[in-house]
């Protein structure tokens, strides 16, 4: 058994141990499932009511991915603008910080006012949740590009665009992917906030309705779904990150895989 597989096995055992402990403690202290359902109950609920949960989960995933994608596009564009222009930095940064300090739940009613309840406000909320970390990181990455690397290109008489494409953007990739992992989880938060407030579909809505009827196992089932989706998205971007930015951590896999 190699060091790597042992490490992985150990982490899996510990994570499973957490749920087992939860199960056992609830059982010993006889905790009511209205307060805190046991993991086995939550899994049972997921299994038996899967047909009812499934469309909600799909809706939330679809909304989140759409908002996330929009957030990435706008985030990169804004980040590039802010990272390469002093004026844009001075103007946009205070605005961005101010905007990101607003609780997003306060913004949802405005979106509902503009676009009506349903999918659109959820997409937009997910989007604005993930723009900020992406913008900040892309801008930082561009600003942190070593001047020497730029000078290499300037002596070759490269255009501004060629410098951005060949130096600025690759240099920014580690920052960008770090922000994507944060943004991916934030996008779920945004979607669920909006669904809770103003939608008749999605996991957020499902949990709202379940908690108002004291169906606590179903609420927790919703949480489990969200957590699982979040972990999956995070894992996907970690994988891509390893392939694209392995040079930053000098990983041997990166050099072998090209």
């Amino acid at each position: 058994m190699t060091e790597n597989t042992r490490r992985r096995l150990l982490s899996i055992v510990c994570i499973l141990g957490f749920f087992v402990a939860w199960e056992i403690l609830c059982f010993i202290f006889n905790v009511s499932d209205i307060v805190l359902p046991r993991p086995s109950q939550i899994l049972m609920t997921l299994w038996t009511r899967f047909p009812a949960i499934w469309p909600h989960a799909l809706q939330t995933l679809y909304t989140t991915l759409l908002g996330f994608a929009l957030g990435i596009v706008i985030g990169i564009l804004l980040g590039m603008l802010i990272g390469s222009s002093r004026l844009a930095y001075d103007v946009a940064y205070p605005l961005l910080v101010g905007f990101s300090s607003i609780p997003k739940v306060a913004v949802v009613p405005i979106f509902v006012l503009w676009f009506g309840a349903g999918t659109v406000p959820a997409v937009l909320t997910a989007m604005i949740m993930c723009i900020f970390p992406i913008v900040v990181n892309v801008a930082t990455g561009l600003a942190a590009t070593e001047p020497e690397l730029r000078d290499v290109m300037r002596t070759l008489r490269a255009s501004k665009w060629e410098i951005l494409w060949n130096i600025g953007l690759p240099r920014t990739m580690p920052y960008f992917f770090a922000s994507l992992k944060v943004a991916a989880t934030l996008a779920f938060v945004g979607t669920v906030i909006s669904e809770t407030v103003a939608s008749n579909r999605g996991i957020g809505n499902l949990m709202m309705i379940a908690s108002s009827s004291f169906d606590v196992p179903l609420v927790f089932a919703g949480l489990f779904i969200l957590a699982a989706l979040g972990v999956a998205l995070y894992a996907i971007f970690s994988l891509i990150e390893g392939r694209v930015t392995g040079w930053a951590v000098r990983s041997d896999n990166f050099s072998a895989g090209g």
Partner: protein
């Protein structure tokens, strides 16, 4: 047939022409003169070494020609045109390897072919294999055959510096700017690279400007040595070096060579003794 205008014809003999150039840094109160008014002309095919203590403005001259620094006063012409608008192919190697960490050695060396015309026009098409061969040959020449797939961090500092030289040379530059590229290397690697550099200069005759603080390196490689002095930076001596080519390391033990480096050394030491107040 290319028609030259009279002014271009007049200038075409000089690859580099600094006209009363001055470079200062800082504001009105704490102004530092990096380069006092300097004029320098370098002809086609010359190998000019700029030597002097640190702070004498030798790197400043190189940056002016490279176009990464603008002159405070005066004009910089490269290949008969204002710097930046010239048609010369420029290759540059720095004191640090400055390789891009996300590209392997092959792609790093290939970078100029992607940027510099006319190579860039063939880059995305069938010529890519041709470029690959070109890079392999270039790497083999500096003793890096088979290292194309490696990433910069997997190579020693000396090997990275060799790769960086390949990158400076891959697009057959007509003007080669070298900013102490051998400075951080051990003596044996350095002498080996001097020899490669000399071979290359004899074959292709690019115009070379080499910044160095190593007098032996200057005397071994250059056809002309400009000695510079600090505070404010300026050229205080400009002399030709006429040893026969190809030169070997053995030449550095001959009396003529030794007396040349001695003379240069004394010139620099004397210049340091009469330091002027900061202007």
């Amino acid at each position: 047939m290319i028609a030259f205008s009279p002014s271009e014809l007049a200038l075409s003999g000089n690859v580099i022409d600094l006209e009363k150039v001055r470079v200062t840094f800082g504001g009105a109160n704490n102004q530092v003169t990096a380069l006092a008014e300097t004029s320098l002309r370098i002809d086609h095919g010359e190998f000019v070494a700029l030597v002097g203590p640190s702070g004498c403005g030798k790197s400043t001259i190189l940056k002016l020609v490279a176009g990464t620094l603008a002159a405070t006063e005066g004009n910089v012409f490269v290949a008969g045109r204002e710097v930046g608008a010239e048609n010369a192919r420029i290759g540059m190697a720095f004191q640090n390897p400055t390789l891009l960490p996300w590209l392997n050695i092959r792609d790093n060396v290939m970078m100029p072919l992607k940027i510099v015309p006319p190579f860039k026009h063939g880059f995305s098409r069938k010529r890519k294999t041709e470029y690959r061969d070109r890079v392999e040959q270039s790497l083999a020449r500096v003793g890096l055959a088979g290292f194309g797939d490696k990433f910069p961090w997997q190579l020693s500092g000396g090997m990275q510096q060799r790769a960086s030289l390949c990158r400076a040379l891959i697009h057959d530059p007509t003007l080669l700017l070298l900013d102490e590229p051998f400075g951080a290397l051990d003596q044996f690697t350095r002498e080996e690279l001097w020899e490669i550099m000399q071979q290359l200069w004899i074959e292709k005759r690019p115009t070379v400007v080499l910044v160095t603080h190593d007098l032996k390196e200057a005397a071994y490689l250059a056809t002309r040595i400009c000695v510079m002095q600090a505070r404010p930076g300026r050229i205080v001596d400009d002399s030709a070096v006429s040893f026969a080519r190809p030169r070997t390391i053995e030449i550095s033990f001959e009396p003529e060579f030794v007396s040349l480096t001695q003379r240069l050394r004394e010139r620099i030491v004397a210049a340091r003794a009469v330091q002027e107040p900061v202007s």
